[in-house]
Amino acid sequence: MKLKEKTRLFLQGFIMINVLWYLLAIIVDTRVLPTPIEVYLNLNNLYDSRLHIHILISLYRVIYGVGISLLLGVSTGLLMAYSKTWNKVLNPLVYFTYPVPKTALLPVAMLLFGLGDTSKVIVIVLILVFQVIIAVRDAVLNIPADTYNPIRSLGASRLQIFRYITLPAILPAMLTNLRLSIGTALSILFFAEGYGTQFGIGYYILDAWTRIDYIGMYTGIVSISLFGFVLFVLIDILEETVCKWKAWNK
């Protein structure tokens, strides 16, 4: 997609959602739902309330959690794809734990690892790692066998086969997964930052809520949305750089 088209898409979406929000605010007419204009005017005060620090701390937690999940998930996924034995050993575990709602483990993680960042990151990892494992394993197993033939006939080493076939073949699936993971991590964060911290965008929103500072609360919601959007755009750019060959790029 061209940059121009993307900007247009963004602006369209932005205007649509704000118009809907504005109309809803007028119709409902309550302090609980201020109009977007009131919220945007408040954005000026954000620097004073040190919102940027909250965002940076949330960003740090997201990167940390997603990073560890990818590291663990990709390596385990590859292991399961390449080795039938490991797949047999690990598959029941992955299969069984996948549907367990891991957010419920937040109290356990907090009891074991304290109220700090560690428990928050661990919960993020617990939720993300299994979907990464499954996505990577299935992406590798879905590569058609004959894709490897020409390179095998060249006597390529295992490392070369991985570098020239497996890695590029699974990249699109991995980027899709990164996208989903970041979205999920942001939602988990909102929940996890409700406890044991005084920083993070999740905390900021919950704190404004309890102080009945509705304008502040909405400012936080708008910020976390923009924050998520920026991350999405970054992944778009990454995708277009490393997956130039994909038809949807043209």
Partner: protein, 251 residues
């Protein structure tokens, strides 16, 4: 020279051993081009997979230039039916992949060869395109270029022209023979078209039904003949092959 001695391939299906190919024996001189023709399922592709090092478990021997066939040792070019271009590499990078895998540095001599072949096959203007953006004929030319850029000890092709429409096929065959005559790599290709076998094969090997074994090897007098279809000998030879095939394939 490629020597094939008692080569056979079998695989295990539901605890039964199924013989998929052979045993077959033949000798292929360096610089020969062999057409292998046989009914579907006779193990033609299996034979190519053995010769290209994709199937590693087989009975008998395959010896290329005095050493056991080994894709790490020999330079083997393989053009599968779907041309085998990697979708995530553009035409140029696809063409140069073999050199990369073999850790060959591109010196001026090799550069000249690359440019010459790419020019000859008319893919210079397609260098930056990805396989998805190419027509069947263009993909095929890229695949041929890739195979010829590496100075192959053995070139293998699995029905290389069958995915093309009739007109493109004829052009591609002509172009292929033209480039082949320049470098003359030892070549084995599989086809189910008698016409193609006569046009491109110096020798024509006819295989029987599964498990494929050699019915007859024909020295093709018409190899490298222009205006093949107007030649009387062509009709005689193709009906001869047709007869053998009918007999052989009934077995």
């Amino acid at each position: 020279m490629l020597e094939i001695n008692n080569l056979s391939v079998s695989y295990i299906s539901e605890k039964n051993t199924v013989n998929a190919l052979g045993p077959i024996s033949m000798e292929i001189e360096s610089g020969d081009i062999i057409a292998i023709i046989g009914p579907s399922g006779c193990g033609k592709s299996t034979l190519l997979h053995v010769l290209s090092g994709i199937i590693k478990e087989y009975g008998g021997q395959a010896i290329l230039n005095g050493a056991k066939l080994d894709p790490k040792l020999h330079d083997i070019g393989f053009i599968p039916q779907n041309f085998g271009l990697l979708p995530w590499r553009n035409v140029e990078k696809n063409c140069l992949l073999s050199l990369k895998i073999k850790h060959k540095t591109i010196n001026s001599e090799l550069r000249e060869r690359i440019d010459y072949i790419m020019n000859k096959l008319d893919i210079n203007s397609l260098k930056g395109r990805y396989p998805e953006e190419l027509s069947g004929g263009q993909k095929q030319r890229a695949a041929i270029a890739r195979a010829f850029i590496m100075n192959t000890d053995l070139l293998l092709m699995d029905e290389p022209f069958s995915a093309l429409d009739a007109l493109t096929r004829e052009e591609a065959q002509e172009l292929f023979i033209d480039v082949w005559n320049q470098y003359k790599p030892t070549t084995v290709f599989v086809t189910h078209s008698i016409e193609e076998a006569i046009y491109i094969g110096k020798k024509i090997v006819i295989l029987s039904h599964c498990p494929g074994s050699i019915v007859e090897i024909i020295d093709n007098p018409l190899f490298n003949t222009e205006d093949l279809r107007q030649n009387e000998e062509y009709l005689r030879l193709s009906s001869h092959i047709r007869t053998i095939i009918k007999k052989g394939w009934k077995i």
